[in-house]
Amino acid sequence: MLKEKSENTPVTFHTGTPFFLEHSSRRLFSLLFNASPGVAFKGVILHFPAFGEEMNKSRAMVVLQARAMSRQGFTVLVPDYFGTGDSSGDFSEASWRIWLEDMRYCLGWLQNLADGPVILWGLRLGALMALELAAELECKYSQLVLWNPVFQGEQYMLQFLRLRLANNMMSGEIKNKVADLEQQLEREGVLEVAGYELSTLMFKEIVARKAITLDIPQAQKIFLVYVAPTIKSLPAPVQALVDQWLAADVSVETGQVVGPQFWTTQEISQVDELIERTVDWFKTVIEPSH
């Protein structure tokens, strides 16, 4: 006997609609996940992608989360930054300022699309940018979801430059140091790291970013999730920042999930628990708006 079709047969809103958002002569490739028509509408979510290869590796997880949120009644926008993915421009032309300006534009675009709560959802370096935008906008009603946020741009750039060192080491090229690479970057204006042409401007902008200096509005609700292969306490700098927010009466909830760090793994990996925990958090903080 034939089995009945599962109720979970994919429907159109699960796949996301690809389109280009045009702004200041930049074309941003974006995926839009419309809120499922079957449930009460709950708000709009803007995703801030990770940086470089981390963005590519995490694409599958981002789409899975966006789908899960659309089923919950949220409309989710997932853009590719200028100079990355399928957006226009070269990576070497990109800058933090341009990305932030584009994300500001995306947010306005989403708010024009639908009323309701606004959620900024960032992964790794994208989480730092989401925090910066939240601090700037002083949204009274916004929520932030931070997945393994990068809090110190300087440390992050050090790790990024190490990729170049590791490549050199493995191909047996002349050994150099991060300091040499920084000098080369200064001299030549651009440095290729793992296939990405990093500009001096972008490098300096990221190095200057520190979450601890951002003034996060009190009304902000933050959910910070940390994924690691084994259960550890939150890294000390992350905990310090959480403590600072709590002291400033910002509502912060932290969560830890055991699983592969999918933005760096060799194979594309999936962490279902992260998606479930994120969905659950939304259920506790956001009521249907009508």
Partner: protein, 78 residues
């Protein structure tokens, strides 16, 4: 947990392998999963887990030859 066992976990996590490895397992050039991204992940995890700072001039192919070489390197720093 001993330094060696912790490092074995870190290396396995960085490459996402589930077969067992030991002190004698050769890494760099021997395990295809051990690429530059894995090297950077291992360095970062070692710094976080052992509270050490690893300078660029200490990073050399020889410390990634085997798991044991990596263990000796870290033991020399903690």
């Amino acid at each position: 947990m001993s330094v060696a066992l912790q490092i074995i976990d870190i290396v396995k996590d960085s490459m996402q392998i589930d077969y067992s490895i030991d002190i004698d397992t050769a890494l760099l050039g021997a395990v295809p999963e051990f690429d530059s991204m894995a090297v950077v992940t291992v360095l970062t995890s070692l710094e976080e887990s052992f509270g050490i700072m690893i300078n660029d001039d200490e990073v050399d192919a020889s410390i990634f030859e085997t798991v044991g070489a990596l263990v000796s390197f870290v033991e020399g720093k903690v």
